[in-house]
Amino acid sequence: MTIGLPRALLYYRYSHLWENFFTGLGCDTLTSPETNKAIVAEGARCCASECCLPSKIYMGHVRWLTGKCDYILVPRLEGFGPRDKVCVKFNALYDIVRNTFKDAPLLDYDIDHKRGRGELAGFLRMGAKLGRPFFKTLAAYNSARGARQAEERLAAERQDSLMRARPEVTVPKVLIVSHPYNTHDNMLGRPIAEHIRRLGAQPVFADQASSAECARLAGEISPSLYWTFNKELVGAIKLYEKNIDGVVFVTAFPCGQDALVNELVMDKLKHSTPMINIVLDEIWGDAGIQTRIESFMDIIDARRLKYENNIIPAHG
């Protein structure tokens, strides 16, 4: 049996969990390819024009998977707690896919704090639907969860060791603050990170910082923030504040959360580090983005030069 995993949105957060779980159940997984222009175009065709770009990309990936596997995994997330919500897009993702691709065989699980549905219950129900015995499902879930946690820890440690390097001997570090489905998407964030690298700086990723610590730190910047994903991203700025030379926000048009959160964070932290907000849409204009990143890097370099010569004080 083959389970299709759309390489978009939650995939970048849960890929290890999903792949290990289904392998543990003895299923094959088929992940859709890296996002390309055809997938985006196909996704945009299946969506209302006002949908956000990542959700259009998601639909393109689902479309690619239809007919190629026995089930397509489309989870539904409501929230993890009373002050830990997710974008309402994730509330509706399953129903949107079901109403758009009426014949596609979907496999879903539901995480809903309000109704008391957790991850474990959701995965157990999936195992039952696939006809796997209870204990086998439980074991598969536990090992998959362990694998995901280990992977996250590893990524956080890798990043932390980068940060510990002494600032004067290293290249400038630029923190990319964006949802993992933007940051690591082939068409959205990855070209930006590559460009930063080409310009001789080291990109670091907010989504790879320790999420529990970031969620805690986010409260210091924005006490009323209640979106878990944004908390984890915003907290990373606080976590790495002393180690980074600049922050690049990457937003996909028209992300409802980022529109408010990034604006607030940029306003509150405007005296700490240089920041830039890049908005991505379906009109791919590489040149424009590259120019903006280049001039941003120039600012960072100029500041570093001044630091070295002690021309401006550390807080300026």
Binding site: R83, V88, N99, G256, D267
Partner: protein, 356 residues
Amino acid sequence: MRTISFPRMANYHVPIEFLLKSLLPGERVLPAPPVTRKTLELGSRYSPDFACAPFKYTLGSFLEALQEGADVLVQTAGGCRLGYYSEVQRQILWGLGYKFELVNLGGNEFGPLGMYRACKKLGCTVGYGRAAYYFALAFRMTAILDELEGYIRENLVFERPPGRFESLHGEFLNELKNVTGFESLRVIGGKYRRLINSVELTQPEEYLRVGLVGELYSLMEPFCNFYMEKELAKFNIALKRLINVTYLLFDKKRLASRTLKEARPFLKYEIGADGTDSVAYMKLLAERGYDGIIHLKPFGCTPEVNAMPILQNISAEYKIPVLYFSFDSQTSETGINTRLEAFRDMLEMRRKLRAK
């Protein structure tokens, strides 16, 4: 003495003003001026680019209130981005140099208890029992307001000659300001219910029935939807709308699982904020044989964008046309009226074809 202000939406400033005045007798309560083009322009000048229209409207209202001397602002919360408005708006207004206090009634402070706690912090000396009485009275006032406005909305099209409903409605709002207790509210409510019910209605042979669904602010604030309800009445269209404050505060939560059940088989889960209600209500109206549905939302409203593919399926299955509107700071009234006219013509043609 401080001046307490809050953004307006439709006519709900009457009960809110009454409540705040009763809870804070020593302070001046001043609702923000009615929403105008200027409010929107002010608000969108200082708003993030793709913040939704209600954010821009309420920010504009705050700016207007601050210019009139307000020093305490009240903002509420909801299930989508609304809960985060207050922090961002406070930051923006602080950045502009205003000195004020912003009371956030969202998160843990949602509901009467939170509002009472917030008033306590502002120096409210009214005891628990008395406060509960005022809350009950304000809710009753809202319920009567919603009931009468609902009746007017559904019958506005049958009123010949037009104008009586509007003047009665204005008088009613004015008299609501004289309410002192349940008894006087009952008398005023009863008087206007009688008066409004006795307005002469002439049922034309042919009229269209259309349901309004969508996001709460663009449905309820007439300026935001360019007085669409009145325009539709001129087009000989009778309206039905579910969303009002009474529904959102009380019925929505109580009926949540029933709403989801009604939305089946189109929905399996709730799709966020009022999206589920839009789907369930459109399905209900489609089953009742309505001629068309108009869906209103601010640009980028995720819960309502979520509902759109599902509304599209209901439309296909029940053969009922839907007209989608997105409101932003750049929306033009002419464009909206043209689309409404075309929609009306299309509905009339369908009617005639079916009659043949």
